[in-house]
């Protein structure tokens, strides 16, 4: 009996931990990938399958070009393909350095490259005959692969025409399948041969070297092309704090009234403050935008915070109402018995008890206004907020996932920081006030 109970306990706790680990993985993994990609160079970000962690340096292989007289080939080591991948072929060293820097975030010092070229000349001179021999062999094997590819495609095409259920073509089908298998095996062997030839060729026809990578390159590029980012960051903080202030003041007062007073239509009114959230933000914002622009609040943090507050007040009202409901009215009455006024009881007893919960509701207002972009684009021009600046920078960067990741992390960072600061108050948000 005890054994059965024990086994049941083990199974239930295993399932529980698998569940917890699953949830953690679902949340953590995408964040990890986002951060990891933001530290990758363009080369790494598109090296498929993508590496789990960014590199701190890149290995390069320098070879002489066969196509450009006096030119060089530069290859970078691909961790996923486990071989050097050619990225540039040029006779202009400055162009090559700048291209490699853009693609790998590793700036090869010109002096180092020149030294490596001298080294390369020596290596090539020593092995000239063998290099020519190996190159010829690789060329021949490549031609064989091309022929095999064509043969494989021809056989596959023929096979497509044969109905697998048709017994009259059974022999032909089997024959073709055998041929296909043979060709594929031959192709695999030729590929291995080419790989072995390249392995032999590499050290005698090229020189390798390692260069440190600028791990923050995506962030540097991001800020270089993002104009007025610091000013925008400050404005975003202003807007978020103003939104918190406005929504907490109005929503807090409304929440207190809903918690403490009984009046006709209270429930309907309480529900109606949430109506505003049921409409798309932009639908509410556009008329607001028109009014605010006429009031002279266009392109000013206060204008934006007023627009954001419209959506936040309803939520704050509900959150603060639940907080105040969790604080016993007897405490206020006791304070009044001891001689304080109703205002005094509120400020000295209720408010201090409600503060942690209010801070948590401030978090909602902060995050809501922090990440909002659509309305801010329309309502700002000379004084954009941080998300607008990031949006403007990232429009059209689909082919640069590392830069998009850097922008996303930059945008998320202040909100994460703010949430971390007030995380311990979140549990008290729904009225769990401890006296």
């Amino acid at each position: 009996m005890a054994e059965r109970k024990n086994a049941k306990k083990i199974i239930s706790s295993t399932i529980f931990y698998i569940f917890v680990a699953g949830i953690a993985t679902i949340i953590v993994l995408p964040i990890y990938f986002l951060i990891s990609i933001s530290f990758m160079s363009d080369q790494e970000a598109y090296d498929w399958p993508i590496s789990l962690a960014p590199a701190f340096s890149h290995s390069f292989l320098l070879q002489k070009s066969d196509n450009i007289p006096g030119g060089f080939l530069i290859s970078v080591y691909s961790r996923s393909q486990e071989e050097f991948v050619t990225i540039s072929e040029s006779d202009k060293l400055d162009d090559m350095i700048s291209f490699v820097n853009r693609k790998t975030s590793s700036k090869i010092p010109k002096k180092l490259l020149e030294e490596k070229i001298v080294e390369l000349e020596e290596v090539v001179a020593q092995n000239e005959d063998r290099i020519a021999e190996l190159k010829t062999q690789i060329k021949q094997e490549t031609l064989t692969i091309n022929k095999l590819n064509r043969d494989i495609v021809k056989i596959q095409r023929k096979l497509k025409f044969i109905d697998p259920e048709d017994e009259s073509f059974k022999e032909l089908r089997e024959n073709l399948q055998n041929q296909l298998q043979e060709k594929q095996q031959e192709k695999a062997l030729t590929e291995e041969k080419i790989s072995a030839l390249k392995k032999e060729l590499q050290p005698i026809s090229g020189v390798t070297f390692k260069v440190r990578k600028n791990i923050f390159a995506s962030y540097v590029t991001f800020f270089r092309v993002t104009s007025d980012s610091m000013g925008a960051l400050i404005r975003s903080i202003q807007v978020a704090l103003l939104t918190v202030l406005i929504s907490l003041t109005i929503g807090g007062m409304a929440g207190y009234a809903f918690a403490r007073y009984i009046f006709k239509g209270k429930n309907l009114l309480k529900l109606s403050v949430l109506f505003v959230r049921m409409f798309p933000g932009i639908a509410i914002a556009m008329p607001m935008v028109m009014i605010l622009a006429r009031m002279g609040f266009y392109d000013r943090p206060i204008g934006l915070s007023l627009v954001y507050s419209v959506g936040q007040i309803g939520m704050t009202t509900w959150i603060t109402a639940s907080i105040f409901m969790g604080i016993s009215t007897e405490l206020e009455e006791a304070a009044q018995v001891f001689g304080t006024s109703r205002w005094g009881a509120f400020f000295r007893v209720t408010l201090p008890l409600a503060l942690p919960g209010l801070a948590a509701s401030a978090m909602y207002a902060f995050i809501g206004s922090w990440s909002e972009t659509a309305q801010a684009i329309v309502l700002t021009q000379f004084n954009p907020t941080f998300p607008v600046v990031i949006y403007q920078t990232l429009v059209g960067t689909k082919g640069m996932i590392n830069l998009v990741a850097a922008g996303s992390v930059t945008l998320a960072f202040p909100a994460v920081l703010f949430t971390m600061i007030i995380r311990r108050y979140i549990l008290q948000m729904w009225g769990g006030v401890r006296v």
Partner: protein, 402 residues
Amino acid sequence: MKKLLLVLMLVAIVAFAFGKETLVVVSRLWTPPSEKEFVINEIIKPFEEMYGVEVRFSTLDDQKMLEQVKLQQETGNITTDVVIAYAAKMPEWVENGYVVDLTDIVSQWTDRHFSKGLDSMTIFDGRRYFLPIGADVYLFIANKKALPYLPEGADIQNLTWEQVAEWANAIALGEGEGKFAVTGVPKKSFIYQAGAICLSYGADWPNLDNPGAMAAFYLLSKMVDAFPPAVMTYDDVRPPLKRGEAWLAAAHNARIGEVYKNDPTNFIIAPVPMGPAGRGSVAGTSGFAIVKGTKHFDLAVKFLEYMTRPDIMLKVSKGTGGFIPTVEEALVYLGDTVEDEVIKKSIMVMKNGVLSYIAPLWKDWGQVKLVYDDIFKNMIMNGIFDPEYLELMQLKIDALRK
């Protein structure tokens, strides 16, 4: 107190006297950071130094830009001076009266001639509201890994669509999965990619019930296995090409140019393939316009004059990845860099291709795009060619006309 007031007044006068006039330019073009950085540092900075002014250059998408200016017009608070909008959106700018008629100003510039082909997009009722810049057509790109499957006797620079289909199908058979990229995500650019084939077969694009479109879709339906397994998630051909998941694509020249410039040793670019009617491509352009009500009209005109100068235009085109200069005189400055190669091939398509533009006939162009996306999903991805289905979809297209 009086002294303080006097000092304050002097400071205000000095600040006013030395305060730089600021021109606000909002663009839907040159959005990738590298392009934006180039335009700001290499093109706009010399203009600022030349005239002692400041130019604030920011990028936004077409719709957001229009919404922003709409609000400024409605409140009378015009803070955007110059916009760069896409051809498909230009009618909306003109119809709403948000932009200035530039006909008389441009007629005085005798050193430049805008490409005639683009006039249908930038001239409205004989009046020029937009100055075209950065025209686009479609190019073809192939990863060198695809070369072993190239049909015998085929020349990449002069491919026909039949050869492309044969090539793409051969790759699919040889590699076990397709490598020809198109944008499978709805409302992206499949309509233009299919349009390139339709036009090369003599179609009246974007209509579907004509022999050219039927021939093009027949060919596409024969390429059912040629698309990568994840094609329905592609909203842009650049990422799959860059990571080697796709090897072939026919797409917008600036996007193809970006992939090629990023890896010129492993890719080959060519003009868009041919059909019986020639090289088909949907073409477009972006254009400069001055916002009506701007407080900096003269400076805005100077800016437009500077940006459309032939030498500046080519510098912009080369620095921003392969857009075609829209001033005829700019072409004499072309050289032989990777960027020049992209531009030259684009010009070849522009000059000799069978081109079509997005005519301002549609209530909602996004819905027209969706018709093509449905065809891709329901017909091409199932390898079925059904002329009746295309005729049915034509009814949908007809219903979307203004």
